[in-house]
Subunit: 353 residues, 2 copies
DNA sequence: TTGAAAGCGTTACCAT
DNA sequence: ATGGTAACGCTTTCAA
């Protein structure tokens, strides 16, 4: 590998002239610059990444941290990491994926050794330990997801509230006036990030605002059937289901409705709000506002780049939701005319007969 | 961030003593070492990654390069990248994912700037440009996959040929004598991804060797049905399907057979050869020899680590295939006795009746 | 057993 | 417009 000294010798100039000719950080007589450039090309010179980093204190590397347990969803994990990586590259940064067994330890190691110019934190929980590291450390950090206390941080997330309003408005436009939200099981709500709570609150608020009858159920992963029973019992004539739940429930809700002779969207409309699609492999089969990495990651990287450049950034940036249609929303059925084919108070067995 | 000079001052020793006390590269009076360690801990000292790299010429970073084609299977892609990353971390290396639009350019950039101690090359094609870079460059490199000419390289791959023979022999043992290989679409083959070609060649060779009737079809992702038609037309009485195709085809082949009244394995046996399982999410539902990243990636990283340490490594390391049984292989149906339930020349509609 | 100092290859400041 | 050179923070050789 040729060094800058080799180039200087070859071009008959000093080292600093080579550095400046290449970086353009000060004006060089164009004739000299040509000579330097030619010499550099001849020797296939490229500055050593580490020497450059040591001298300039900028590595042009971004670290990405995400907890990685045996039960982690590798796909979602990598989908986010990949989106971040591509966005970072577009801004001239390479990314280092920290996969230490302990995400906190990995982030700490990166911070302590000045491994990166910036960090992206994925899979953020409400009381994430890494928040503390971000506050104490000196590496600019952007969270994708909102911890409970965002004080002093930079966070990017989907605007779940707006997404919920979008979903409800779409349904109202189709004539629906009785809706149910299927949310996460209580156990998950307790330890996960707080967006399910935000989703639920906005559901109740905006339904009230639009004069819509609303009910919320929070089934366990195997509780899709019970949830439908509950909806039928508590709010018969419900014609629209909003989903912000675990995938097990989302996946069984279709078959469960079918087994009751209820079809989508003729009898009931279904919308998924803020659920992560399994990308190309098995996209959610419902209309909805997906929590898509392609939406949030580029924004997060842009903010990180700005922060690394010293800019002041708002603590929370919400990304506008996008409604995707897959044909599971239709006009509201006239409940009075055909109660049997909506979520009525009848038991599943009776309906099926 | 505390520097090594801070620690030296704090401990009342010289800089080199701190360095040696921390690295253990020469013996230090234990009392002195304790003092240094205590000082380092007190100041939360951690060596700067870039200064360390510049001085030692070792970055402890491994770069991973993989081209991103429009039809890339992102899941498989990420699964490999993730396996490499975790294996590398286990050996003390961090991983840089090169996602430049042009994989060659990305690898070149990494090489020129001495970005990494070593490289892992994924998604290798028969005449991969990156081979040339690996030969000319001075960064130890390991290919996961085999280019046509492996001279001077280090490559790791599943032993597809052995896998194919394993699959065919298993089917022959069950009495099958007419087989069809469902391979990748022409677009993928055209890019000269290498292993499908090897799989196909060995299929034809070993079928001939075993006296088995053989046919090859190469459907587009949505062409499972057409592929079955083609097999039925060109080689009626086929009782075994070997799959080495894109996941869309693999996933629809089961339902497609079912819709024709053909059941697995009673009427037709199915084996997947060298396909990447969707890991935890949805393992391939077929008997077969999976191309599991967990098999090849750790081996590749181990070889890379050895090469970085200066060891001589064989050019090609093939990982032994493992046959996994899931009940989709059974005895061959007697075609003459019941032609209608095999892949006969009848149209799907007629068969269904 | 320890210390001093010469690199490692850049960047960027201070001169000219 | 260009050159000299002191950092950058560490590893490692050479001395003692």
């Amino acid at each position: 590998m040729a060094t800058i000294a080799d180039v200087a010798r070859e071009a008959g100039v000093s080292i600093s002239t080579v550095s400046y000719a290449l970086s353009g950080k000060r004006s060089i007589k164009s004739e000299t610059r040509e000579r330097v450039l030619a010499a550099a090309a001849r020797l296939r010179y490229a500055p050593d990444a580490y020497a450059r980093t040591l001298a300039s204190r900028r590595s042009h590397i971004v670290a990405v941290t995400a907890p990685l347990h045996p039960d982690t969803d590798h796909y979602a994990h990598m989908a986010f990491a990949m989106e971040v990586t591509m966005a970072a590259r577009a801004s001239g940064y390479d990314t280092l994926l920290l996969v230490d067994d302990d995400a906190y330890a990995g982030m700490d190691r990166a911070e302590e050794t000045s491994l990166s110019d910036g960090m992206i934190v994925l899979d953020v929980s409400a009381h994430d330990e890494r928040v503390e590291l971000a506050r104490k450390g000196s590496t600019p950090t952007v969270f994708i997801g909102l911890p409970e206390d965002t004080e002093g941080l930079t966070c990017v997330d989907l605007d779940f509230e707006a997404g919920m309003r979008l979903a409800i408005d779409e349904l109202v436009a189709q004539g629906h006036s009785r809706m149910a939200l299927v949310t996460q099981p209580p156990s998950v709500l307790k330890r996960e990030s707080n967006y399910p709570l935000r989703v639920r609150a906005e559901f109740e608020r905006h339904c009230a605002a639009r004069g819509v009858d609303a009910i919320v159920v929070a089934p366990e992963p195997d509780g899709a059937s019970a949830a439908l029973d509950e909806i039928a019992a508590q709010q018969p004539g419900t014609t629209a289901l909003l989903l912000n739940t675990v995938s097990a429930v989302a996946q069984s809700i279709g078959p469960e409705l079918a087994s009751r002779g209820i079809s989508i969207p003729a009898d009931v409309s279904v919308v998924a709000v803020g659920m992560t699609p399994m990308a190309d492999r098995a996209p959610l089969p419902f209309d909805g506002i997906p929590l898509d990495p392609r939406l949030t990651c580029p924004v997060a990287v842009d903010l990180l780049v700005a922060r690394m450049a010293g800019a002041e950034i708002p603590e929370v940036t919400l990304v506008a939701p996008v409604f995707e249609s897959r044909g599971t929303v239709g006009p509201a059925r006239d409940v009075a005319a055909d109660a049997a084919r909506t979520l009525a108070a009848a038991s599943p067995r009776e309906v099926a007969e």
